[in-house]
């Protein structure tokens, strides 16, 4: 029934060069028969393991611990998935005491790039360290926000950064007769981002590469609401403050002199927030009013821009066919009940497009007309029993802890174990109505770490919460 693969993209070739899957036409990619997908994935994974094992110390250690010497079946990969918490497994004192030499050494364990020649001992802030790695190496570290102040660091290479752009662009291509996400070529569509333009979180890195790879360096195609930089140090100190406050140790937080020296910038940013928003809004209105745009950002920042825009009289600023991607989770923020309508009213997009992804993946899956998140063939899913870690059968539909192996990675190990509880259909006995062949994730996903046993649970053990006051604290600390 399924059409065979095009001659140039046969199972053999794709298995040997799985990174070429992302170049495939969307219809072809989602039509690969299940058996062929499995064959490509096994061959590709074997190749990656074979090539990377000796070059990534953490993988070597994990393989040894788990006694895996060879990937014979896809199941053999499961014990080699790196839990997402591994990306923040360095001791916190590395950040607190600015031991960036040791942090580099730790990071070296996760990448094929040799970091031993990088002398980070002189760095006295995380931003400094990230700049040094950008300048001296081929890795573009992506960090998280880290609620405890400990940031996760993923050492993505420039190689994968370019692939990330290909994956990003491919999601806008049409699939069969479905209405595409936008009504113009993505190469001509400006991207609006509702936060700092610079920084080292996944979006900032993506924007850099979109600008160079997709837009040929045209800076007007990537507009951010703040031209400044999101400081990794500020993000970390915010979390450390929360922890310190909860332990009653506020006075003990150490802030590097360099960060203190940036107080003028922080102060100016705080004072100019209104003016910066003015400029951004005027800019995007002048350039792109009525046009189709792609908007990305976290829910609270998108909401903030929408509120500011509506205040200034902008309403339904862009084409209804604009693309709206809200990151960072739909829950957990304290926004008014009408936050979603406010966002639509300002931007003019008809709806937001739900997605499921994470920094560790090159791209997020978008929801299909059948209401599912389809995994592309380069993403090998794993489903584990949450309590025992045992693999669940790779057939039918099951609920469990989600893991994946991303075949696009060649400079770091692409196998990760998330903290997400996911219902996954393997696509064999219940294909999705949209016609895509292969496994898909249902919308009912959640984090295991979310509270269990009701949200009004009171115990006598624990530490009180506090709020993010990083910048205020820095400003206070320097009087």
């Amino acid at each position: 029934m399924d059409a065979p693969l095009a001659a140039s993209m046969n199972v053999e070739t794709l298995g040997s060069f799985p990174e070429r899957l992302i170049e495939m036409d969307k219809e072809d990619m989602h039509a690969i028969p299940l058996a062929d997908q499995a064959a490509i994935q096994l061959k590709g994974a074997r190749k990656r393991f074979h090539e990377l094992r000796a070059r990534i110390p953490m993988l070597a250690r994990l393989a040894e611990e788990q006694s895996v010497t060879e990937v014979r079946t896809i199941e053999d990969l499961a014990p080699l998935l790196i839990p997402h918490s591994a990306l923040k497994s360095y001791p916190m004192s590395y950040l607190e005491k600015s031991q960036f030499g040791r942090l580099t050494q730790w990071l070296d364990g996760f990448t094929t790039h040799d970091l031993s020649g990088v002398d980070a001992n002189a760095c006295d802030s995380i931003d400094d360290w990230l700049d040094l790695l950008d300048a001296k190496t081929e890795i573009r570290v992506m960090h998280s926000t880290g609620t405890t102040g400990k940031l996760s660091f993923l050492p993505r290479g420039t190689l994968e950064m370019h692939r990330m752009v290909t994956v990003w662009a491919s999601k806008f291509r049409q699939y069969k007769d479905e209405i595409p996400l936008i009504d113009r070529p993505i190469e001509d569509t400006p991207v609006l981002y509702t936060s700092y333009r610079r920084g080292a979180m996944a979006y900032h890195r993506l924007l850099d590469y979109l600008e160079s790879d997709l837009y040929g360096g045209d800076k007007t195609k990537v507009l951010a609401s703040n031209p400044g930089r999101l400081s990794a140090d500020a993000a970390s100190i915010g979390g450390r403050l929360r922890v310190a406050e909860s332990r009653g140790e506020l006075g003990k937080i150490h802030i590097s002199p360099k960060l203190l020296a940036r107080r003028d910038q922080f102060l100016a940013d705080q004072k100019n927030a209104g003016a910066i928003a003015d400029k951004f809004l005027a800019d995007i209105a002048a350039r792109y009013r009525g046009q189709t745009v792609a908007v990305i950002g976290a829910v609270p920042t998108i909401h903030y821009i929408a509120v500011e825009g509506l205040k200034r009289g902008y309403e339904r600023l862009f084409s209804p066919r604009s693309y709206l991607q809200l990151g960072g989770g739909m829950k957990g923020h304290q926004l008014p009940d009408d936050w979603y309508d406010t966002i639509l009213r300002f931007f003019g997009a008809e709806k937001m497009v739900e997605g499921y992804g994470m920094t560790e993946l090159l791209g997020a899956a978008r929801i299909c007309p059948g209401g599912h998140f389809h995994l592309p063939p380069w993403e090998i899913p794993f489903l584990l029993d949450h309590a025992t870690g045992a693999q669940l059968p790779r057939t039918g539909t099951h609920k469990g802890r989600f893991g994946f192996y991303d075949l696009n990675t060649e400079t770091y190990w692409g196998g990760f174990l998330t903290g997400d509880e996911v219902t996954l259909s393997w696509g064999d006995d219940a294909p999705c109505t949209c016609g895509r062949v292969g496994p898909y994730v249902h919308r009912t996903l959640r984090r295991y770490a979310e509270s269990e046993g009701g949200d009004d649970k009171i115990t006598c053990a624990g530490a009180p919460d506090a709020h993010d006051k990083a910048i205020e604290f820095i400003l206070q600390a320097i009087g």
Partner: protein, 494 residues
């Protein structure tokens, strides 16, 4: 699918409407309750003078009542407690045997000798029974009496004993009480109240106890209830989570007593490592402090500082000690502590990550059976507040300055070894914030209820302390006007 009922107990009346459903994601932890909003007019004790009936009882009569209550809380005969156990088995982090043990011992909270001791040490029985002449000086006499108040208790649900102690404390002070139960234990307080109703439905003590569940923060209920005209004292367990709901209602006339969430630690001096035999004994004591009640309570040890030193020899000793502690945890009897099927999800994720930390930590165990993380430097893991399910962090140190300085206002109990160390460091620990210093191995098993809690004396604070002064004008003349004072005039005339 089990569906529990958490009735509203309203001053001796059991209301079993099923208007709302609450509880966890797991359907087996869900419970139905009446809408407390419908009964708001009856929930608070609107006339303060209605406390008077409690003053027809002598202290001994109160003890009589509580003592009998204690007998009727015998688990095997008490259906209400059995129901409560059936739910808490699913919502609590404690295993069935521990919970059963807690419920079976619930009655012993009302031990007459202990109750008397608690009242006498923490308040002074004469102050509860009448006006005590506290001072007589040259014609002036002062009298003080401890009165009950109209109180709301927002109780914690991690250990069922909290509900029993709350009821005991409140009754001793002759207060009116409304218990707001938590979603992780909505039944225990009600079970005790229903036992009272079965025993003496019209007794004043029964009539001054209400038990309700509403979702913490429900403004419809809290706005109406938390007013000085309804409530004088709020006793809240649970820190920010529960306090943030209440804070906005605090105003003159409402006294808020907080029993914040706390964490506890251990300090072990170098003497413990002088011989292998001693190490083994100390390891077993630490295991008790870590493992009793499955480390669900505020008093359980989480971070354990060990003065082994941090040179190679010291770290080796720390690692050996870590193994011994882990083995001792595994050997704890099941009525005190039990393994669980899996760690709390957040902690489990942190533990997984530790494998990738290089040589910074050594881990023994680390699954549902518990675990010991031995830091290979003198730094604790930064996720130490998440430590639970019998997972502890041993931190080797060269000097005791490190653990002493690590103490903060959120440190409740510190188990200490050897005993001689306690007097040497206890003042400094207190200045830093520690609230309870205990012989190693005894943090949970020998806890006295006749002592302060978390650095405050909740029982004294639950009372209204009323002062009566009498002045004899003859002995203490005070007459600011120009004309002569009547008393003196009378005296002169005579």
């Amino acid at each position: 699918m089990t569906q529990f009922k958490a009735p509203l107990i309203l001053r001796g009346e059991v209301i079993e409407d099923e208007d709302c459903e609450f509880g966890g994601r797991n359907p087996q932890t869900r419970f139905a309750t009446p809408d407390v909003g419908k009964y708001l007019d009856r929930l608070p004790l609107s006339a303060p003078s209605a406390l008077a009936d409690l003053y027809t009882l002598s202290f001994e009569q109160i003890l009589d009542f509580l003592e009998e209550l204690g007998l009727r809380l015998a688990f095997k005969q008490n259906r209400h407690l059995q129901d409560a156990l059936a739910l808490t088995i699913r919502t609590s982090g404690l295993g069935e045997q521990i919970l059963r043990n807690c419920y079976e011992n619930l009655g012993s909270v009302f031990n007459r000798k202990q109750m008397r001791e608690m009242a006498d040490v923490l308040i002074g029985i004469p102050f509860l029974e009448g006006w005590v002449n506290t001072r007589s000086d040259n014609g002036t006499q002062t009298f003080v009496r401890a009165f009950g108040a109209r109180s709301v208790h927002i109780v914690a649900g991690n250990v069922p004993t909290v509900s029993a102690i709350t009821i005991l404390r409140n009754t001793i002070t002759r207060s009116d009480m409304i218990i707001k139960t938590p979603s992780n234990d909505p039944l225990t307080a009600g079970a005790i109240a229903r036992t009272m109703i079965d025993m003496a439905p019209d007794h004043p003590i029964t009539r001054h106890l209400s038990v309700a569940y509403w979702k913490g923060g429900d403004a419809r209920i809290e706005e109406a209830l938390y007013r000085p005209s309804n409530v004088e004292k709020i006793v809240a367990w649970g820190g920010m989570a529960s306090i943030s709901h209440i804070a906005k209602y605090i105003q003159p006339g409402i006294d808020l007593i907080t029993l914040d969430p706390k964490l506890s630690s251990t300090i072990i001096g170098k003497e413990a490592f002088e011989s292998e035999e001693r190490m083994r004994e100390v390891a077993r004591r630490v295991a008790l402090d870590i493992g009793v009640y499955n480390q669900q309570a505020c008093l359980n040890a989480r971070v354990v500082y060990i003065q082994t030193g941090t040179d190679k020899r010291g770290i080796d000793a720390a690692n050996r000690f870590g193994r011994l502690v882990y083995e001792a945890i595994q050997a704890l009897p099941l009525h005190l502590s039990n393994p669980v099927s899996s760690l709390e999800p957040q902690l489990a994720e942190e533990m997984e990550g530790l494998r990738f930390a290089g040589d910074a930590y050594k881990v023994y165990g680390g699954d549902g059976r518990g675990g010991v993380i031995v830091s290979q430097t003198d730094e604790q893991v930064e996720f130490s507040p998440l430590l639970a399910n019998r997972v502890a962090n041993l931190v080797p140190v060269d000097t005791l300055e490190i653990p002493i300085r690590a103490v903060t206002a959120y440190t409740q109990t510190i188990g200490i070894y050897p005993e001689e160390l306690i007097p040497q460091i206890r003042d400094r620990l207190a200045w830093h914030g520690a609230q309870r210093l205990v012989t190693l191995g005894y943090v949970a098993t020998a806890r006295t209820i006749a002592g302060p809690q978390d650095g405050i004396e909740p029982l004294r604070r639950m009372c209204k302390w009323i002062l009566n002064e009498r002045h004899d004008p003859a002995a203490k003349p005070f007459w600011p006007w120009a004309d002569a004072a009547p008393a003196r005039e009378a005296a002169t005339a005579a």
